[in-house]
């Protein structure tokens, strides 16, 4: 177990190195001058040259990359003398567009995205798995039919339709929740404000995912119910309730762990549509804007984050599987 985890962490580090190099390489071959993008309208050739030296864009690419790596572990100081500014470790660089260290920005954006993703995940797991179980349990009867209608809507309505619909009715018509984002509140300091802030994004995302999970759960349970070992359980004289609860669910729901972890990881990379509709300044919006602005440090940072979350979630899935299924040895 320990060797497994440490081996996987080494793989993860290598993967992240390659990912970050790839992003650097892509930016290097793009035909633009990164220093020219640091000063907006006030650019003069002089300012550009100063910034180029300050940010190290005058150095060869491998050296820039090396300074980037070094900064992650040791922090990084740009410029010299009184004009110098310092980004403490782990430093992913400095964003001129925001006049802030990337790590500091990340600390603002990540809680928003995490709140959206975790809340939506909980909501869609409850609704999706719950409806899936009901649909499988009452296959062919009205709960099954009702859930299939839900699945139809959830899978066919795009996120921006659901989101805009909610926004128009709940925020604009009924004025229950303000439209504009007035700042992040933590669930611990103001639970009600927190829920108000995120409830619409949660519903929007959860609606689409829950539909998929309903369908998946239903299919998985029905498939498990056809297994020979379920027939054995019935042959013992177990009641149908116990057959479901003890023998079916664990086997049927194990694959959902994989699905949920990867979907969750995807959301950390940025639920761009949802964040845009509800005007939430999370990772998704930030990444998108930074790509438009060729803001290399931010793009590298969010790319590493997205890749890192996927890798970590995969590791967690493998570990969970070893707990769930005794045949899996790690």
């Amino acid at each position: 177990m320990l060797t497994f985890v440490s081996r996987r962490l080494v793989y993860a580090a290598i993967t992240l190195l390659i990912v970050s190099m790839a992003v650097y390489a892509i930016f290097a071959i793009l035909p633009f001058d990164p220093a020219a993008l640091t000063c907006g309208q006030h650019c003069t050739p002089l300012v550009i040259r100063a910034n180029r030296i300050k940010l190290g864009f005058d150095k060869p690419l491998w050296e820039q990359y090396w300074m980037f790596l070094h900064g992650i572990f040791a922090g990084r100081t740009y410029g010299v003398g009184s004009a110098a500014f310092h980004c403490p470790a782990p430093a992913f660089g400095y964003s001129f567009n925001d006049n802030m260290c990337v790590t500091e920005l990340l600390q603002q954006k990540l809680p928003i995205t995490l709140s959206v993703a975790i809340g939506a995940l909980i909501l869609w797991l409850i609704v999706g798995v719950g409806l899936g179980i009901l649909a499988a349990r009452f296959k062919g009867r009205w709960p099954d039919t009702a859930s299939s209608v839900f699945v139809l809507f959830g899978t066919s309505l795009p996120v921006f339709v659901t989101g805009l619909f909610l926004l128009i009715w709940v925020s604009i018509k009924w004025k229950i929740i303000p439209i504009s984002f007035l700042g992040y509140v933590s669930v611990f300091s103001d639970p009600i404000g927190f829920v108000k802030l995120f409830i619409l994004p949660w519903i929007t995302l959860a609606f689409a995912f829950a539909a998929l999970y309903t369908r998946f759960t239903r299919a998985s349970i029905l498939e498990t119910l056809g297994e020979d070992y379920i027939r054995t359980a019935r042959a013992k004289g177990l009641s149908e309730k116990k057959v479901l609860r003890i023998h079916t669910f664990r086997a049927a729901l194990a694959p959902i762990v994989t699905l949920a972890s990867l979907d969750f990881a995807g959301l950390i990379g940025g639920a761009i549509l949802t964040e845009t509709i509800f005007n939430l300044p999370g990772i998704g919006q930030w990444t998108l804007r930074s790509v438009y602005e060729f803001n290399l440090p931010v793009v590298v940072c969010t790319t590493i984050l997205a890749a890192g979350v996927v890798i970590i979630m995969n590791l967690i899935v493998d570990m969970l599987y070893a707990v769930l299924d005794p045949r899996v040895r790690i």
Partner: protein, 343 residues
Amino acid sequence: MTSLLEISNLRVSFPTDDGDVHAVDNLSLTLNAGETVAIVGESGSGKTVTSLSVMGLHNPRSTKLSGSIKIPDGDQVIDVVNDDAEKVRNMRGRVMSMIFQDPMSSLHPYFRIGKQLAEAYLVHNPGKKEEARKRTVEMLDLVGIPEPAKRAKDYPHQFSGGMRQRVMIAMALMNTPRVLIADEPTTALDVTVQAQILTLMQGIQKEFNMGILLITHDLGVVAAIADRVSVMYAGNIVEQGSADDIFYRPMAPYTVGLLNSVPKITYGEKQRLQSIAGQPPSLINLPSGCAFSPRCTYIENAPAGSCAATLPDLVGVSSSHVSRCHIPESDRPQVFSHVAGGK
């Protein structure tokens, strides 16, 4: 009721979009204490459907059942087909138990086998955890698992196929049932392991005076342990008799075909296997008349047109050996005389 199991006129069909699948038609048989009754037939003939019917394991929403399956339980007699589902559930695993064809997939991969065995006991003896544990070790020992107390903590994937089938048998025996249904218990196993499992079943049968309903397509298995045999074809019993009747005095053309298709070990010259030509019929639109008639090689020995017109009755000169065939019974020993092993 003196027998352990009495199936009368059992019909099982599954409604589908293309029409009803008539899996079992008008099947009757009895099973007595200490006796092994075999149901033989090629795959798709309705053997598994029959055994699941006895266990009451068909989904009532997708299965049409009629007739009766009577099993005594104490001083009551329960009819699995017509009685309340809860009554039948209460008998499962206690009065009648079943072991399945594939021991690889029949045990739950996530639970230790000790837990799975104990569960079988606890269903019918709620709360008696200590007894369940003791009984688990006892039964594992009985079926020949070495170090039973230790192995009870293992998961199914840590056992070989033969050992798993032993575990399945141990599980079936947890409540000392009177009836054991074994659906192709050795089909998935190596030949040497097959013999061990059959010997084990015979030993257990003696010990508990159980009735065994043995489902198989393997005539070798039948010859080894069956007292009486029912031969099934397309959902019908086509011949029923003692094992000797079936092997030495077969009376139905299908039985003759089955016996001829068994490879025999002979010295000297190679022997050609005689398979039965053609395929079993679709169970959705069964031909009127004898279902075997399209594949029957003796059709010209029967009165002209009779095979296509009606399904022959299951009758015989002796009531203990009955068969379905339009060829007059007195002619059949002559007609089937070339059967290997026949007299």
